[in-house]
Subunit: 339 residues, 4 copies
């Protein structure tokens, strides 16, 4: 950490900061400047908590050099982590993976039809929500336990791996019996108790980025899971909230190559939730492939016009099959070009 | 709801939309325009779910006229709701209330000292976290059960009412034994299961605005609690996330008079978390008073320099007492001027 | 326009709104609802100014159905506009175009070297700033007139078309003698006098999106140019400002397919300015191709480490040539797949 | 500046950075850490340009300790600058000032009526736009020269000082003949040529904050004017663009006390443009007073319902007079309490 003193800070204030640094077992390094003094903190092995420093008089700014994630960082774990959803591998430097299915499990027929469509088009993981978080208390909230049973049946019939959302700690055990991967929704990205519990759940976790989460906060949330003993974490970019409201969210594809440098955990992209419109999914899915994501997650529904939730962003089986074929060709080309 | 058709929508597409409206038990009203047709949806009694409509061909935009909150709205409940935290009343058209205390309960001594300082200065409610959500898994996470016991002692000694945060459903019952008001943190604003459970907890709820929550989403979150049977909800503005990072968050005081028109639920302001710096709390607290908020929540610590959490934003007892005295005079003036 | 009345609006207030609508030559259509009345405005041929309506008592909200751009919209001009920069065509349904060159013209040698590298790799348009807007008054501000002469020489030698920025009306005439296309920077996107003057400049205009411009504002800015007589406008997405600061800006690729539906004007993408880091340019350039953009604009410098401006985001000639080759293959594939 | 090296940076990379620092006439100070090395840059007298450093291999991050404004900063100019608009003084530690008038000069009658209302209520400066920037090319664009003559007449009759907007360099001379203070609109905050020209205009400048300008960018824009020889600059907070769209902009009052510490230039607040609704102006004006602003700028129109521009946010003369009286009492109280 670097502690920047105010222009008019007194020597006594500078000394007090240095003393506090020593109290904490670190070593102060004064850095004189033309306009102000800065003091480096040496000797720390991890993130330096800023609380004990910031309150001293004469301090202008605290600048962190160490980041609040270490286990999730490539600095300390340079090799890619390979996350296994059933037998499907998700990682940097692996062929990207297609995860698809309905937003919500609505019925046995709907879910089985969607699963067959996903399988037929070459998708490898089925998504579908049994528990649904909804902004309004009066919207459809998911089938719950019945939905889990339907997912289990779809998995048994098609052989697809299954990913589904958990919203509460007391759902983890039951959901983990059915699902190959547990999803944490954007609204729960900083539900720290849930993250910690998922560290011990024995299943990979798909961690969606919060609507206004910085990259640092997102990686720190992944750190909660890894620090609790589970390194099988997939990060999922699903659009952030910005001033622009013509589209539902702003899909932030620039984070994908940045994260590839910073973390060993794989990153996938969800264009369906980001844009909220089916017709915009194929171009953004292609872009996710081109930018180097480890996979995509898209919504597919056998009859989007009748979907109970997020119908407008769901693709129908024909559109989805065409997209998969296109991504296949694109993947071959990009793979050939990769260094 | 108003359904705006595309410029080139065909008559068949327009008819299909009208048919869908009738299927749902509503009545379509076509509104011809120079460039496009719009279709009004008549006969609904509440918020119209957009799912069944948006997926039809030829639709450009769906515009909601009814809002996703009804119970929280003044339209259907014109009179102010008076929320009672112990014997303290929080409401529009009531003298504003000061809620204060340490960010986290750290020890018996610290909490009792803070409580005495709050009481002495004229504060009426004690705040203090026993359970703390923290961005990094290695920061201090609160004293938990021991913290609750300390709060109970502080309450018994000073007679102050107590507000403290609940993070999980399974904490509600125990926290409700000790606290007069249960706080939902910004990160949990859309933890819908928690909100629903709080609807049945028999205690007032202080609902912080999510870091990037729109006013509509915030009111819809309050609607979850009210719809579950609990109208004792206080909204707390605590700063939103914007592009500006020189200050921690952007305190959005303009929402206070807007909310006063839109909702009967009281609104308070938390300048400590919004700005993250003690020296900026008094001017923003004065501004909250002047803009007409129903109260403020500020952090007070007997020895801010030694606080385990959020020390830099905590006021010391002397500063807090001076602020309370100033707000008192300000309140008398504003009260005299009120229509 | 739809005028939504307040829940408690009186009949007299509703009548006053209807009267105002008639005064303006339009026709009111009352739309009764369960909770409130809305009034449609019929008979307008373009965007309805909201000023005369909004001020009447009892109005809750004004909702525009017509957008503030008409000439830029596909509704009234369904065919793609083909913009010609010299002999280079930029349009939807045309092969995407590569515009490249240094951020700033720094010297004859640097610019000619960059131009040769662009030409050799298959780029078709040279970019380079003679006039540079800079946040700080003490940074390098561009060579001005001398820079224009250098650009003219590079153009004569390589045959590349040239695009360069104009910052002031009094620069337009001189810049138009040298440049095949005039660029408007993000900070000037709403410099309306400049836009109007460019409508009469007889040169195509490359209009960068403002840092926090909504899609509606961006299209309305293009409308200024088109309405002044110049339909040769290229829109350039270059990243928007969001809460995320780990990367310089957030490149908003989702707008590309959306704009393709909404406007006949071509859209290109500038990944260099959006991300601010050279190593992130190739993946985002590929993504721009995959999402269907009409081209990209990237920074190339013969010796990026010595660039006077934006060095870290400039590619060197080798990296640029490799990118162009890759985009070429990608383009062939996407073209084969296009419907 | 602090240069943070990557975790795996080699000694050769570290040496190359140190060598570059020396080339520029500064001195490198290596700061070893557990995970990475950082290198301090010593000996600079002002802002260090990051271009020459950032491009070297092995660098992770460049952290500025010196800010891109020096003349505008209290560090180098601790005393308040008193800006004089005619005989009206605007400064920290002076009674706050009320600037008021119509958004646009529409006619002689309207402007004179507004000016008399402003004068009668105790306002000291008249605002009114002769040149108006408008998002859509078809909206009312101001009266131009005729508007200036009307403002001159209003000034002569009432004795009020006048502030009005300049949009172009070629307007400055003429506007400066009529106006006591020249306003730069939010869209022009980074129109650097205009700022420089205003540095030599011999009139105070009222510089509005850009819609998405950081505090650093805003102060750097002021630096342009001061560096060109004019220290008579007033900063005006007028709302920023955020994700929230229920209100027009988000008025950022927290910046006022922050700026009071950082800059000697006075800061005023414009609640009319921020909120866009007349009924929200009085509570936010009171809040601006309470937070310690040096003044406010509000819109007043003799007949808001007939205003050609921004009618809904304009107060009528009665409402304005009531507000002024209230602010007067508030000011007396705050003044008595000030340290």
């Amino acid at each position: 950490m670097l502690i920047v003193m105010e222009h008019h800070a007194t020597q006594a204030q500078i000394d007090a900061v240095a003393a506090r640094i020593r109290e904490l077992g670190y070593e102060p390094l004064p850095i004189p400047g033309a306009n102000r003094v800065a003091i480096g903190v040496l000797g720390n092995r991890g993130y330096v908590d800023e609380e004990p420093f910031r309150d001293l008089a004469g301090i202008q700014e605290l600048i962190h050099v160490t980041k609040p994630y270490k286990l999730a960082s490539r600095d300390f774990h340079p090799e890619d982590t390979v996350v296994r959803i059933g037998t499907v591998e998700v990682a940097w430097h692996r062929p990207p993976v297609i995860i698809a299915g309905p937003c919500a499990v609505e019925s046995r027929e709907q879910t089985l039809a969607a699963a067959r469509a996903v399988k037929a088009a070459g998708g490898r993981v089925l998504r579908g929500g049994a528990f649904k978080p909804r902004t309004s208390p009066h919207s459809f909230q998911g089938l719950g336990e019945e939905g889990l049973e339907i997912l289990a049946e779809a998995r048994a019939e098609t052989g697809l791996a299954v990913v589904t959302e958990v919203m509460r700690i007391d759902q983890i055990e039951r959901v983990a019996e059915v699902a190959d991967c547990l999803q944490v929704g954007a609204r729960n990205m900083q539900n720290f108790d849930l993250l910690r519990a998922l560290g011990e759940a024995g299943r990979p976790v798909l961690l969606k980025r919060g609507l206004s989460a910085t990259l640092e906060e997102w990686l720190a949330a992944a750190e909660y899971i890894v620090a609790s003993g589970n390194d099988q974490v997939i990060l999922c970019e699903r659009g952030i909230r910005t001033f622009e409201r013509a589209l539902r969210n702003t899909l932030d594809l620039g984070v994908v190559p940045w994260l590839r440098q910073v973390t060993h955990l794989p990153v996938i992209v969800d264009p369906s939730h980001a844009l909220g419109r089916r017709d915009l999914v194929p171009p953004l899915a292609r872009a996710a492939w081109a930018v180097g994501a480890c996979g995509i997650m898209v919504e597919v529904h056998p009859d989007p016009a009748r979907a109970l939730s997020d119908g407008p962003q769901s693709m129908d089986p024909e559109g989805f099959a065409a997209l998969c074929a296109e991504l296949d060709r694109l993947g071959a080309l990009l793979d050939a070009a990769a260094p």
